[in-house]
């Protein structure tokens, strides 16, 4: 863990410093603005039921699927009135956290 490392650069307030990185810094996740049309798992678990089909129109608050984790059946609900675009999971799938489960799109505003 103390072996000689090649120097890299780090910019702090406009100045370019030569230094080395830590494992944590190198593996940090770059932030991305969340896409409201993507529904991700907020906890790792098992898909125990799916209630919707692609192209189905869904009202805000309707339950889309059940994600079981820590012995709790979590209802994943529709965040707004809209339509199901694509379903990325199937029943009995075991999925990690931040796994994209559904793509949706909002209903067209009249």
């Amino acid at each position: 863990m103390t072996e000689e490392k090649e120097l890299k650069t780090l910019v702090v307030q406009g100045a370019v410093y030569q230094t080395t990185y830590t494992w944590k810094f190198e593996n940090r996740v770059n932030w991305e603005a969340p896409n409201p049309n993507h529904i991700y798992s907020f906890i790792p678990g098992t898909i125990i039921d799916i209630f919707i089909k692609p192209r189905q129109k869904v009202k805000e608050g309707e339950t889309l699927l059940l994600l079981e984790a820590m012995k709790m059946q979590n209802q994943v609900r529709m965040p707004f009135d809209g339509e199901i675009v694509k379903i990325h999971v199937k029943k009995d799938d075991i999925i990690p956290k931040k796994h994209m489960m559904l793509e949706i799109k909002p209903a067209r505003i009249r």
Binding site: M1, Q13, Q18, P44
Partner: protein, 514 residues
């Protein structure tokens, strides 16, 4: 029965119980590359100094067929002994007896030696090697853990508490080490986690090995749960002994003084630090150029390596060092390094160890991940810890001291007793590059040749502000010193601070940002 036969009977009983879980279990322990609990205690303590108590304690469980089972010593050895002729209290869980599982009497033995350590004001060393709660004893084993945690908290800041993880330490059991001052781990032997790989897999579907989840390296480098990493049990015991030599027996005392020795002759201190503040160097070389015999005992070497903490001696007395490390992430403060330094500062303050701060940092680490990880509240810890500490506090600014980093690293404003700066110090609200871009924004953007003007303005700012004299003119630093005088100045500062006493407002306790 004659007295003689009574004695022989006692010896026989002792021999029987001292075998722990028996030959087969001991063989299994050796196969895992582990010493037995008794071997560990004997290897750590001074020769012939160990005295055991509660050898004949038996478990009290009745359910699930436990009433027919004999568990020697109920899976834990407790006693007193000495390290470098100074007393310590110790317990060691015996994995050969029911996997070192913790039941009521097991916990009662541990709390007995903890009470003893607190009453006698001597360090407590706990060797953890246990499968966890003894399920058969139900809520009594939970009660046992709770009683241990309570005593860990009560003793915190009064006596040194050292945890040694020499086997599994899972579930609730991890919280006793987490409440103690220093945690030692050994490669391939230590495993610490709240929920193990099998539970994680069955509940959450994530697959990971024990080593990757909570092995020694993980805790030494990634989580910051461990303070010292060793490659073998014997290496670990040497580290514990070394630590014991640096710290006082309790919070009423000072660490044991050693014969004063000058630093080793090596590279000159002024040759270690490059003139360009953007070029790194190993701050440990600076520390070693000012400590006795150039010795430095680093704490948490692999976690948040952008800040260095550890113990050294100056003229024989223990000093705690906190120093930015330009070699890693340019020495920035971030969530982990603030957390790491803050706890060490509080340790030194609790145990009467003066703090020397060596400063060279460009500020806090920028980034969304840092902001979202709570760099505000974590960064606040270091401010809190320095402000609250009443032990002698000396700061030396080597090069950069910019912005929030300047304030945080034991500045005059947080009541440093002495602040020295090298002539290379740059004490400013930010580095010349950033400042020129803001202060001369208009001039730069309106210029025919913006880049040329920018460089010119950076130079201008550098000349005017990137030096120690602006701060010196305000009395924020006490003296601009030549690098080679660093050790002498720190020594003198510590000498005159020996009887330091400050009065703080009366309170039950503060509310630090943790």
């Amino acid at each position: 029965m004659s007295l003689r036969s009574n004695v022989l009977d006692l010896r026989k009983r002792k021999r029987e119980v001292q075998k722990g879980g028996g030959d087969k279990a001991i063989e299994k322990q050796a196969k895992m590359g582990k010493l037995t609990a008794r071997e560990r205690i004997l290897a750590l303590l001074d020769k012939n100094s160990f005295h055991e108590y509660d050898l004949f304690v038996e478990h009290s469980a009745k359910d699930f067929g436990m009433d027919t089972k004999v568990l020697h010593g109920d899976g834990v050895i407790i006693g007193t002994g000495t390290i470098y002729s100074k007393p310590v209290c110790i317990f060691a869980q015996d994995f050969t007896v029911a996997g070192g599982s913790l039941g009521l009497m097991h916990a009662r033995k541990i709390t007995k030696i903890m009470d003893h350590a607190l009453k006698m004001r001597v360090p407590l060393i706990g060797i953890n090697d246990s499968g966890g709660a003894r399920i058969q004893e139900g809520v009594n084993s939970l009660a046992g853990y709770g009683e241990i945690f309570f005593r860990n908290t009560l003793a915190s800041g009064v006596i040194p508490q050292i945890s040694v993880i020499l086997g599994p330490c899972a579930g609730g059991a991890v919280y006793s080490p987490a409440l103690t001052d220093f945690v030692f781990v050994v490669e391939n032997i230590s495993k610490m986690f709240i929920t193990g790989p099998s539970v994680i897999k069955s509940v959450l579907g994530e697959e990971i090995s024990m080593e990757e989840l909570g092995g020694a390296r993980v805790h030494a480098e990634l989580t910051g749960n461990a303070h010292f990493f060793a490659i073998s049990e014997l290496d670990c015991f040497e580290q514990i002994k070394k630590l014991i030599s640096y710290i006082p027996r309790n919070n009423d005392r000072k660490a044991m003084p050693f014969p004063p020795k000058p630093p080793k002759k090596g590279k000159k201190i002024e040759d270690i630090v490059p003139g360009d503040p953007r070029i790194p160097y190993d701050m440990r070389d600076i520390i070693k150029s000012i400590t006795d015999s150039s010795e430095f005992f680093e704490v948490m070497e692999y976690f948040a390596a952008n800040i260095i903490i550890g113990f050294g001696r100056m003229e024989g007395d223990t000093v705690g060092f906190v120093a930015n490390q330009p070699m890693v992430l340019a020495g920035v403060l971030d969530t982990d390094s603030s957390d790491k330094a803050a706890r060490f500062i509080r340790y030194c303050d609790a145990f009467n160890i003066p703090i020397v701060t060596l400063e060279d940092l460009p500020g806090y680490l920028p980034g969304v991940d840092q902001e979202h990880a709570g760099v505000i509240r974590h960064g606040a810890k270091i401010l809190y810890a320095y402000s609250e500490a009443t032990v002698p506090k000396v700061t030396v600014i080597l090069r950069k001291a910019y912005g929030g980093g300047y304030i945080a690293m034991n500045s005059r404003h947080l009541r440093a007793d002495f602040v020295f700066a090298w002539p290379t110090a740059e004490i400013a609200v930010m580095g010349p590059e950033g400042a020129a871009n803001i202060v001369f924004r208009k001039e730069i953007s309106e210029a025919e040749n913006p880049e040329e003007v920018r460089q010119q303005k950076i130079q201008e700012y550098k000349q005017k502000f990137a030096n120690p004299y602006v701060a010196a003119a305000q009395g924020y630093i006490d003296e601009v010193i030549e690098p080679r005088d660093t050790r002498g100045r720190i020594l003198h500062a510590l000498q005159v601070s020996e009887n330091k006493s400050v009065f703080l407002p009366n309170k039950k306790h503060g509310i630090p940002p943790f």
